[in-house]
Symmetry: C2
Subunit: 452 residues, 2 copies
């Protein structure tokens, strides 16, 4: 028959090192700056928040960084992840294109996030840390860190945006099942939480406030560090295990991709698949277009400005140069909560700025239509975030159909949607609206960017 093909890798071929794209870029990325001195950040500046090994990775320009054995052992719970040839989808689209996807939804938390939560937990445990703090919105990242913490005997305190804490009890239950503590943010446990509550006792919270609480708590306790699920260099680094596997699997399949696609919120799953292929491209071994897909409602790469900005709304973080909508910009609500971030990973921004990757934005209704088409052909219900990559892959396949070109398309299916079924319910009920992007609000937010 040959209708569906799944390319697995033998465990022995699980990558032994992560790939650091910094080593191969034609220009070095602009350094992060200390918000007080505006001088390039030092390792010491990060020491209150991260363990030494993580800081070293964050600042490294080494091409390959070994994956520690204990991390590889845990990766083997769900890795190597399968590469799947979407033959049924191809047939449904009647396209000459070959569509492949890398499926990251088989991890215990259901997404690519454990690729970085596991090494982060490991390095913290090695450094004698007892407790990790983090923030989470919808809960994808929080549940992944909770999972990793449980494996390394770390306490995990998760500041969860209060409105999500109340509306998404099942993600919270997942975090608690892994033994983590979920705290609705703003909380009375931190000074920043108490300050907000004093002013707005009914505050439903925001990711910005939750970050402030998690950072404050980590900085104020010796046995506690902070963990972040996207944006930073070391997070993107850990995700490259996706692309390194995919390179081996595409070779097994006998096709070189003409297009490599990932959705981009903070940028880590896009970079995880895209950066290893970018290396291959820079080395002349293949020549794919590399495409980051973002939501029209939060179009950082396609509508933002490339400038130094803060990573959080409370301006506690270093300044990083990235495509940003302005740290005061409040994106409208939409279902792909994981893509609802005002900035973009500095490395992804840099790569786009260098012309080595391109960006595209879609509305959520067209993305859900694509997600349903994937579910009905390949059986997998994508997370709303991942549906953006599905939409782009389908559009590329339809372009191939129109032009008669048999190109090879590869996308990252970064997670399943089993915790996001309310979004599908809304979609089928016709309740999903296309969010109109308000340019004047963006201009206001951009006007407030730090003048650097």
């Amino acid at each position: 028959m040959g209708d569906t093909v799944k390319y697995l890798l033998d465990e022995a071929r699980l990558p032994k090192a992560w790939y650091n794209v910094v080593a191969d870029l034609p220009a070095p990325p602009p350094p992060p700056l200390h918000p007080g001195t505006l001088k390039p950040l030092s390792a010491d500046d990060l020491a209150p928040l991260f363990p030494p090994a993580v800081i070293e990775q964050e600042m490294s320009a080494e091409r390959w960084i070994d994956i520690p054995d204990p991390v590889r052992e845990i990766y083997r719970l769900w890795r190597p992840s399968p590469l799947i040839r979407a033959r049924r989808l191809e047939k449904a689209l009647d396209t000459p294109a070959r569509i492949f996807f890398k499926y990251e939804g088989l991890s215990p938390a259901g997404s690519h996030k454990p690729n970085t939560s596991v090494p982060q937990a490991f390095y913290n445990q090695q450094a004698g840390v007892k407790r990790l703090t983090t923030e989470t919105g919808a809960g994808q990242w929080g549940s992944s860190l909770a999972f990793a913490g449980s494996l390394f005997g770390l306490e995990v305190d998760i500041y969860m945006v209060k409105v999500s804490y109340e509306q998404k009890p099942y993600r919270r239950a997942l975090m608690e099942t892994y033994g983590a503590r979920c705290i609705p943010s703003p909380s009375p446990l931190t000074a920043s939480g108490r300050a907000i509550l004093a002013k707005h006792p009914d505050s439903t919270g925001s990711l910005g406030i939750a970050i402030s609480e998690a950072v404050e708590m980590a900085a104020s306790r010796d046995d506690t560090k902070y963990a972040l699920g996207s944006v930073l260099n070391h997070v993107l680094l850990h995700q490259t295990v996706i692309g390194e596997e995919a390179i081996l699997q595409m070779a097994d399949a006998g096709w070189a991709p003409d297009v490599v696609i990932g959705c981009a919120g903070g940028g880590s799953n896009f970079a995880g698949l895209g950066f290893p292929f970018l290396r291959e491209k820079l080395a002349g071994r293949c020549s794919p277009r590399i495409v980051a897909v973002e939501p029209k409602a939060c179009p950082t790469l396609t509508q933002g400005r490339y400038a130094y900005d803060f990573g959080d709304t409370a301006h506690l973080t270093p300044l990083v140069k990235m495509h940003t909508l302005g740290s005061t910009f409040m994106p409208p609500g939409f279902h792909a909560g994981g893509l609802r971030y005002h900035g973009m990973a500095p490395l992804v921004s840099h790569v786009v700025e260098l012309g080595l990757a391109e960006a595209r934005a879609y509305g959520q209704v067209e993305c859900f239509a694509a997600a349903v088409q994937l579910a009905r052909t390949e059986g997998i219900v994508p997370a709303p975030e991942s549906s953006h990559a599905v939409r782009a892959a389908i559009d590329e396949a339809l372009r191939c159909k129109a032009s008669g070109k048999a190109e090879t398309i590869l996308f990252n299916l970064s997670g399943h949607g089993h915790f996001d079924m309310q979004a599908y319910t809304d979609y089928f009920a016709g309740k999903l609206q296309e969010v109109t992007f308000d340019r004047s609000l963006l201009d206001e937010a951009l006007a407030e960017l730090p003048q650097i």
Copy 2:
């Protein structure tokens, strides 16, 4: 390190045939009876409900039945499923036992159910059927049939117990994402539904009513057949792909199991893992104990009577000899909805009656404790049904610890619990109660068994 080991099979070793235990049993199973004539059922009696290929499998005594190529192609979306050595759990229990589990939660619907929904949909499509009807309680089976129907272009109408339809919108959303139609039961679409509604306009439904509606609708339309998710011989047959893979994987791992464990509601996932090992045992190639685990709140095998009974509460089905609590027995509510059935697969009952397998019952609180221990060591959050197998495996490992015996334990982790997080929330909140089993109600129900 070697802390975790995942045994995969190459796709080429995906079993080519299902195993029919009937061929190897020392005594043939008692035949199903026509409820009117009390004579053994004929193929014609089943023709209104099932396509010829399914009826042939239901009545077959052939040892091996080929898996059609189109079914194997779809199996490859998630099969072969991994066999995992639970080294972290072993360490946490400080047991000399080796614990392995076969993980069926990676299927698109998150459980073992697609192993049978896919061939059932295939055979129906081959027979020119346009529409399948079925019932579902919590939605595990309904979503699996919806998935299979979408792949073969069949309409799927799912009569979902009304209380679940209203309380479990996310499972419903999953079925609708796959293109199926979910109908709250009792419904005005069928005579049996209308009869109930006339008497009880506020009826919240039951599995018995939903079966009646699905069967009535299938029997009354030429282009429509019925599909069942457990209990029947052909369903158990399809699930043996689990055990056939596990035999190869245990050989790869280099260990023969001393205990093989599955949870049992209708009996299909237990049989799927257990029957192939039973063959090996009968042939003298290994000698595991084979253990079916059921809930104390619905203890069919451990407290029921082995007798002819109806499969549904409305008495539309044939009479089958099985361990039963009586078709009028209403099990109390508990979280493992998939184990809340008054009867047991006739083949499982027969095998237990022959002394070839043993049965054991657990309460739900001790099962959730085991599930949480698995989540915190191996990362996988089990479905409430599967947690019964986890409990039994842990207890066997603790027995090994007490006796100092290094036995090999294998259990079936039949599905993940991502759609069941409310149960975990209740568990952590201390709201889960041990359901007291009322023996007098059972005696009443057993007194009403047909006198055959």
